[in-house]
């Protein structure tokens, strides 16, 4: 049997760390042992009318206490994420994981690395920053209110961009790179598609190897249903067309592998 399992995990703690942004620690045991930065967990609500699991990226892994931290955004009223946000410490939640491939840390060991996160794409970069031994620069993009940025300070040089200019560079992560004349040999990134598209273009122009973590509507989370595909440059190994499965072949892809 593989390391993927579906089981009930107890919530250790949960709190709101920004507007609609929640931080939840789960007692994950073997799932925490197996988890890698850039992977995700799928969480199930206890509402039978909401069938499908919600994929949420792993923000942090506490190997010693065998816990996993998820930082997620509540996406609206009556959503699955809103249901999760109402759960208290001690309550069990059904979880499938760990899923996906994660960031290839070995590709960046000892190098100058950008860890780029945009909005709710920021959380997975935290464990990546924790585990990666390299010269790390975190470039974090927000709409307005900051979250997690102080925690990155422990592991990387941190640069922030806000759309409203309330902190750091006014604009996006690319503006922060230009304004601060930042340089890197490798890029790891997670965020909204327009941001990933800009980073992919930047990396390919500068010939920097770049891995991006992608997102799409998912059903099974394990590579069977073929819902969450993205366009790939080369013929994919599963269906022999140009569709990679984000849940199984990804969510992290070399930027040159995929079309955005």
């Amino acid at each position: 049997m593989s390391e993927k399992t579906k089981k009930s995990l107890k919530i250790v703690s949960q709190k709101e760390i920004g507007k609609d942004i929640y931080s939840m620690w789960l007692q994950a045991d073997e799932m925490a042992d197996a988890a890698r930065p850039g992977q995700f967990l799928s969480l199930y609500t206890r509402d039978g009318s909401k069938l499908l699991p919600r994929p949420i990226s792993i923000c942090e892994i506490d190997r010693e206490n065998r816990r996993i931290r998820l930082v997620y955004r509540v996406t609206g009223e009556n959503t699955g994420t809103e249901a999760f946000s109402r759960l208290h410490a001690g309550v069990p939640v059904e979880v499938l994981g760990p899923l996906g491939n994660g960031f290839p840390l070995q590709e960046a060991e000892g190098k100058r690395v950008f860890l780029m996160g945009g909005g709710i794409g920021i959380p997975p970069m935290l464990q990546t920053a924790k585990e990666l031994h390299a010269e790390k620069t975190a470039v974090l993009g927000y709409r307005d209110e900051l979250f997690l940025n102080e925690e990155f300070e422990n592991f990387a040089n941190v640069f922030v961009a806000t759309e409203d200019g309330s902190a750091g560079t006014k604009g996006n992560v690319m503006d922060a790179i230009r304004e601060n004349a930042l340089e890197a040999d490798v890029i790891f990134a997670c965020g909204p598609t327009p941001m990933l598209r800009a980073i992919k273009t930047f990396a390919e122009e500068k010939n920097i190897p770049c891995w991006i973590s992608m997102e799409e509507r998912m059903a099974c989370g394990v590579g069977a249903c073929l819902a969450c595909v993205c366009k790939s440059k080369e013929v994919d190994g599963h269906s022999h067309v140009h569709n990679k499965r984000i849940c199984k072949d990804g969510p992290v892809f070399l930027s040159t592998e995929v079309e955005l």
């Binding site: 049997m1 039978g48 069938l51 499938l96 799409e216 099974c220 069977a224 249903c225 819902a227 269906s239």
Partner: protein
């Protein structure tokens, strides 16, 4: 000793529980969660004569107690399927049922003929996928077309043929009779119900394909009704499906007249569902002192 084995057109299955096409790949992904040896059969995702890329994303949307999908039958084509997927499934002690899709009658027949020399137990002909523009559903919504393609496929098939019926028709018994007249050996129903979801914030369709096939627990009563109607109308064995998530759900289908059942969407919210349904049926039989599962099949008249 309770007897759970059932017979579909001369093929014995150790129990009536199988997977629903398109929800279980060719078994590899879910073999990390369930022991495929415990299942009556694995029904593969539809395979065509050549690779199909499927539809643009988003391909799925959640609905209340259900979901819509418009994958569009993405598949690697019969060559890769025969080299990779069939040998994988052969490692297990379970029956192999291959779901066949196509755009034209010739496409279907080419795949069916090719599978004649493969260690496959049954063929399921997908003439009811609502998510592809050509072929597929066009054969499944007109009794004459269904009878004709059934006859044609039967000419090439070495294995017994299951015709998978669409619920998107006025009278499913007419379709069942047409497939029977064309020489089908088994019927499977229901495929998904055509539906639509609107994303009001983006003012567009939730699915890139606009419409999708609805499945999940929400469709179960419709499916049970159709299985019952078809069981009254034809003599062929039936594989019942539509919203089965538990043994209780499966038993409803068996009592309505299905000889076997498929677990589909439930795999997505419970990757252990298939095995749990097998165990639950056995448990029910013990509790109710049922020695042979045939006592339950069509028990409701």
């Amino acid at each position: 000793m309770i007897k759970t084995a059932v017979n579909l057109a001369g093929v014995e299955l150790k129990n009536p529980v199988m997977t629903a096409s398109g929800t279980f790949g060719s078994g590899e992904e879910y073999s990390e969660f369930v022991d495929l040896n415990k299942l009556g059969a694995v029904v593969t995702k539809g395979v065509a004569n050549v690779p199909w890329p499927g539809n643009p994303t988003p391909r799925i949307a959640e609905t209340s107690s259900g979901m819509l999908n418009a994958i569009g039958l993405q598949n690697p084509g019969i060559d890769v399927f025969c080299e990779r997927d069939i040998p994988f499934l052969k490692k297990y002690d379970t029956r192999i049922i291959v779901n066949v899709c196509g755009k034209t009658t010739e496409d279907y027949c080419e795949v069916v003929e090719r599978l004649g020399n493969e260690p496959v137990d049954l063929l399921e002909i997908n003439v009811s996928c609502p998510n592809v523009k050509e072929g597929g559903i066009a054969f499944g919504q007109d009794p004459k077309a269904l009878e004709a393609i059934t006859k044609e496929v039967k000419k090439y098939a070495k294995q017994p043929v299951i015709m998978k019926l669409s619920p998107n028709v006025t009278d499913i018994t007419e379709m069942a009779k047409a497939a029977e007249a064309g020489g089908a050996d088994v019927l499977s129903l229901i495929n998904t119900l055509t539906g639509m979801k609107i994303d009001i914030n983006r003012r567009t369709f939730a699915l890139a394909n606009k419409t999708g096939g609805m499945s999940g627990p929400a469709v179960k009563p419709v499916a049970v009704r159709m299985v019952y109607q078809v069981a009254q109308a034809v003599k062929l064995p039936i594989i019942g499906m539509g919203g089965i998530a538990t043994a209780e759900d499966a038993l409803e289908f068996l009592m309505a007249g299905a000889t076997a059942v498929s677990v589909g969407t439930a795999n997505f919210f419970n990757p252990y569902a298939t095995e749990e349904v097998v165990a639950g049926i056995e448990e029910f039989m013990r509790r109710q002192h049922v020695e042979d599962i045939s006592e339950l099949i069509g028990a409701v008249k």
